[in-house]
Symmetry: C2
Subunit: 347 residues, 2 copies
């Protein structure tokens, strides 16, 4: 066992505070990682505050982790001390399962999330990246390309793959018209990734306040959704719309912006069900689908793609002592575009 | 102009009654068809009774038409007098359109439906198949394979293509598990077609009352949706579910029956929007999509497929004088499985 320093939430209405716990004794297949940076994902806040009613306290959030390999087990072949690595949203999956599917492991019941999941055979839930180190099986450790800064690369591990996976699944590339709905931590990654894939990218944001940023990141067009004219102008315009907002919006309005046989993909999730008109999808054989992160294989592919294209997240570094104010600003969408905790602040 | 005998509705609350009108003078590219049979589609009832608030009276419904070619225009090359032919849901599309897409013409704004649509340049709406003959441009006339009876083939023109198109689009074949939700005029065609494509077919029907029929038509499994155990047993079971029912059901229950990355396709449409849970589609990257008939090219492909596999609809022949009682029985789902009007009864 190795003692870890961390910040944890101990209850839904308690601020995160210093917490010490034991990581498991590293095994032959484990990689021990000194965590340098950890992005703040909205899921961290939902979990810290038990907004999904599934939190086991104390909880150490954080699943956008980058760091340096401290040591490796005897059977680890792909990593060595000093390597620049990352850990994303899960640290194990149903490897022993007869129907194991490497491309869909993240949709399988055996998934062990990086925090707040009790793994089979374990006594304690997993603890995430708001800590000084982590012990992860080799198969769930990612390589960070040398040209990507570890701080700005951290959000790729969740926000990046969350956008990359649907863009690939729905075959975005030169000639496709993609709309990214919402210009936040997820949305801005979608703009950069879709543009790098060669698509013609349109941002649909509540206002035009981030228009200059959007165009700089690779968008060709930028529309405000608070202007009804936007919905007139863009009827039937897109091959794919990726919705990154979790506010309750009228999906039917956006379904009308799809070309025939095109798809509206949710990666942000409003809590309450949204009424969908059957006619909005029957006419034009349109689709409404969801998507959630990606496999380890695809996450590495995404990181390599980002290395090739020099893509990282736009970030604001913060210290772990300022978590609560960062959380409040995330909730107000008052960050351009992702907070990353400098873990040196843990002391 | 040629005088046509027909049955028409003259108002939302009036029974259909004899009606005489002029078909257009056949042009060089037109085929004149003596109508022998016409299926009764639920859309006919919705339109006759103005339930979609878009009916122009008098309306002559009917878009599941089979008959014999009476004569052809000078430029018609694919048909001759005496040929066995069909006409489906539309009789023109945006042929002159720069973005014409032969595979998606039925989703384009230039679509002229077989009845109740005013074509560009025309004074009157189109009149459908509840009549003795029809004049149709060659490009919108289908060939009926010789081995298919004209009466039982009529429903292929709408019900058949409505199921065939999504089965093909979502790549159903050997090794795929397909569920057909609803065992009526549409659903029973889905069972026959999916089974002929080599899929493993499951029927999900309210009760088991039509189980013997379903198994005979090619289903391997048959479940009652009024039994909660069905939803336990079939979690994550299907590559594709096609929903043929227009009653308001909880789509989220059925989304849970999909495998990861599988799709629930609506071809029946409840009038009111249905609340959809984002989590039901984000988890597993599941999709909810619609589908509507098919192109002329795909409709001919479907008819040829039915010829090869000897597939027709299960029908009950009726006379045009009994339309109202047939309509009432369709509404009560009291027909196995499609009414077809014997047009000889028009006299």
């Amino acid at each position: 066992m190795t003692q870890a320093k961390a910040y944890a939430a101990r209850g839904a209405d308690q601020a995160l505070a210093p917490f010490t716990f034991e990581r498991r004794t590293p095994g032959d297949e484990d990689v021990v990682i000194d965590i340098k940076y950890c992005g703040i994902c909205h899921s961290d806040i939902h979990t810290a505050r038990n907004e999904w009613s599934n939190t086991v306290y104390p909880v150490v959030p954080g699943h956008e982790i980058t760091g340096i390999v401290r040591s490796v087990g005897a059977k680890v072949s792909r990593f060595k001390e000093g390597d620049r690595v990352g850990v994303g949203c899960f640290v194990d999956s149903c490897v022993g399962c007869a129907t194991r599917d490497l491309d869909r492991e993240h949709y399988m019941p055996g998934l062990v999330q990086t925090y707040n999941t009790v793994a089979p055979g374990a006594d304690l839930p997993t603890y995430g990246g708001y800590s000084d180190h982590i012990v992860v099986k080799e198969g769930y450790v990612l390589s960070i390309p040398d040209n990507l800064a570890l701080d700005a690369a951290a959000p790729l591990l969740c926000a990046g793959i969350t956008l990359y996976s649907p863009l690939k699944h729905w075959k975005v590339g030169p000639g496709t018209k993609v709309a990214i709905l919402g210009m936040g931590g997820l949305g801005h990654m979608g703009v950069k990734l879709a543009a790098a894939m060669g698509a013609e990218v349109t941002v649909l944001s509540q206002t035009l306040s981030k228009k200059a940023d959007g165009l700089k990141m690779g968008a060709s067009h930028y529309y405000a959704t608070n202007d009804p004219a936007t919905f007139e102008a863009l009827q039937g315009a897109f091959d794919l719309i990726i919705c990154t907002v979790s506010a309750e919006i009228d999906w039917n309005l956006y379904l009308a912006l799809l070309k025939p046989e095109a798809t509206f993909v949710l990666v942000g999730a409003p809590e309450k069900p949204v009424p969908v008109s059957a006619f909005a999808i029957i006419m034009g054989r349109r689709g409404l689908a969801g998507s959630m992160i990606g496999s380890i294989k695809e996450t590495q592919e995404m990181l390599d793609f980002c290395g090739t294209h020099g893509i990282v997240s736009e970030i604001e570094l913060t210290s772990i002592q300022k978590l609560e104010s960062a959380y409040e600003r995330v909730i107000k969408s008052d960050v351009r575009y992702r907070f990353v905790i400098d873990m040196a602040s843990l002391g």
